[in-house]
Amino acid sequence: MKEPAPPIERGSWVSGWEEDSAINDMKKIYYLWLRQIKKYLRSRARMIGTLAQPIIFLVMFGYGFGGALGNGGGNYLDYLAPGIIGMSIIFTAIFTGIEVIWDRQFGFLKETLVAPMSRTDVMIGRTAGGATVATIQGTIVLLISTFFGFQPVSWAAVVPAIFIMFLIALIFSSIGTIIGSFLDDMQAFSLIMNFLVMPLFFLSGALFQLQGLPDWLTFVSRIDPLTYGVDALRVLLANIGHHDLGLGVDTLVLVGMALAFSLLGGYFFEKIQV
């Protein structure tokens, strides 16, 4: 077997490339990001599955619930659509984070864990990839909701809305990564869906305005990142906000939580042993 040219001294690029290491680190993160996108695009079943759910919710709640409220469903749809966008993002993002468990089971996680890069970078690539996927998903749901009659107040507002979607996605993708770092099989998946994701979704006020909740539930809804995410989307897309905070506070809280959960995710990812 012939060696390809050029002749290389043992380990030469290990040290020889250090001067470019910042560029190389970016490239590694980019490749891990790209991997998540490719996996998403190749998994049709997953894409259809995660889009079917918001469509069902739009139909059931938009027509059913909106009709019950007696205002013809039109106004309620303005309220509902941002909530459903939030829902599709939280489900997709948590799922991409939890994929760590999958990668652990199928072994690919090891390949990234022994690679000559910091685990923080591995986590950044994964999480950013997962968050991008969830944001794309949210944008598609936004488009779908227009077929149901939802009209964003202005199309210019869609750009900042996508930024908000990305922040929500980043938070929940990190939370997924944290969970994935602790668990080593998918058995616990339904537990997480039922005891974490569903409550966070309902308590965010995505479907209906929360009124007359006991104090402790109000507290939970106030620390639920999705509360702020959905509110910000509502302000931007439908010009209605349902609580006293306003877009500025929403955005600040989301940015803060995105930072905090990314750091926490990085910390726990660092601790993974295989």
Binding site: M1, E3, P4, P6, I8, E9, R10, G11, W13, V14, W17, N24, K27, K28, Y31, L32, R35, K38, K39, R42, S43, D103, F106, G107, F108, L109, K110, E111, T112, L113, V114, A115, P116, M117, S118, Q273, V274
Partner: protein
């Protein structure tokens, strides 16, 4: 190149690796030989920053993988015992991603990916996703990927398990060439005697978490008065089949045998 002293890994009461000490010199091919559940893979995982040792010190070219995991990871490459490919990516993408993660420059990466995919006879399947591959094909790709970057130290955890004899021979030749021309230090675990005998400069025989004998293949044969390494291995480790956690009677028996020999 690899220095290990008093390395121990415990899972609760179970001692997977029990106070082992050994050294692998620069440019050496070193084999860890032992039955299933002897602690070979656990040792490799500790050497490659995947597991934290319970006690003991490791140095890879002077770097402690517990204290400086990132720097340590720059010193080695590894072929895992169990699958570590991404099933949703193609063969080429798996190779390419590995090359990027290991800082192999663009032009060289493309060259090598092509050359190695041809080497393991998967070039015409390079654009197929791994899902569609058979077990043997996955294993071959795994090997090719491990050879893509040429590190100072290459760990191979039972590399030839599941390989056909043709690929096994090709791999042996390739590894020997890398060892000779590039001075790559090679650390492999195996339970094939033939492999250890043919490849390794030195062998450590591991059983139930301990190194029970070490030396060149010749030394081991002489020590046990056997003609073949397989006989030496059986003389040292006994003939019963091992589970991951061997029973206490089994342990006592092996102990007795070992004492009797001394």
């Amino acid at each position: 190149m690899i220095e290990v002293s008093n390395l121990t890994k415990k899972y609760g009461d179970h001692v997977a690796v029990d106070d082992i000490t050994f050294t692998v010199t620069d440019g050496e091919v070193f084999a860890f030989l032992g039955p299933n559940g002897a602690g070979k893979t656990t040792t490799v995982k500790m050497l490659t920053t995947l597991l934290r040792p319970t006690a003991g010190v490791i140095k890879l070219d002077g770097i402690d993988p517990v204290l400086e995991p990132e720097l340590a990871r720059r010193q080695f490459g590894i072929v895992f015992q169990d699958p570590s490919l991404d099933d949703d990516l193609t063969a080429w993408e798996n190779m390419d991603l590995h090359g990027v993660l290991y800082d192999v420059p663009d032009v060289l990466r493309t060259q090598r990916c092509e050359e190695l995919l041809k080497f393991v006879d998967l070039w015409d399947r390079k654009d197929s996703v791994i899902k569609e591959f058979s077990g043997g094909m996955k294993r071959r790709l795994e090997i090719a990927r491990g050879l893509l970057h040429e590190p100072k130290i290459l760990f191979l955890d039972e590399p030839t398990t599941g390989l056909d004899p043709q690929t096994r021979n090709l791999l042996w030749d390739r590894l020997q060439e890398l060892n000779k021309t590039k001075g790559m230090t090679i650390f492999l675990t195996t339970h094939y005697m033939e492999e250890a005998d043919r490849m390794a400069d030195r062998i450590a025989i591991m059983d139930e978490g301990k190194i029970i004998a070490a030396g060149t293949p010749e030394e081991l044969k002489k020590q046990t008065n056997t003609e073949f390494l397989e006989d030496a291995f059986l003389a040292l480790t006994g003939k019963t089949i091992r589970d991951e956690g061997a029973g206490s009677s089994d342990r006592a028996r092996v102990m007795g045998q070992r004492m009797g020999r001394r």
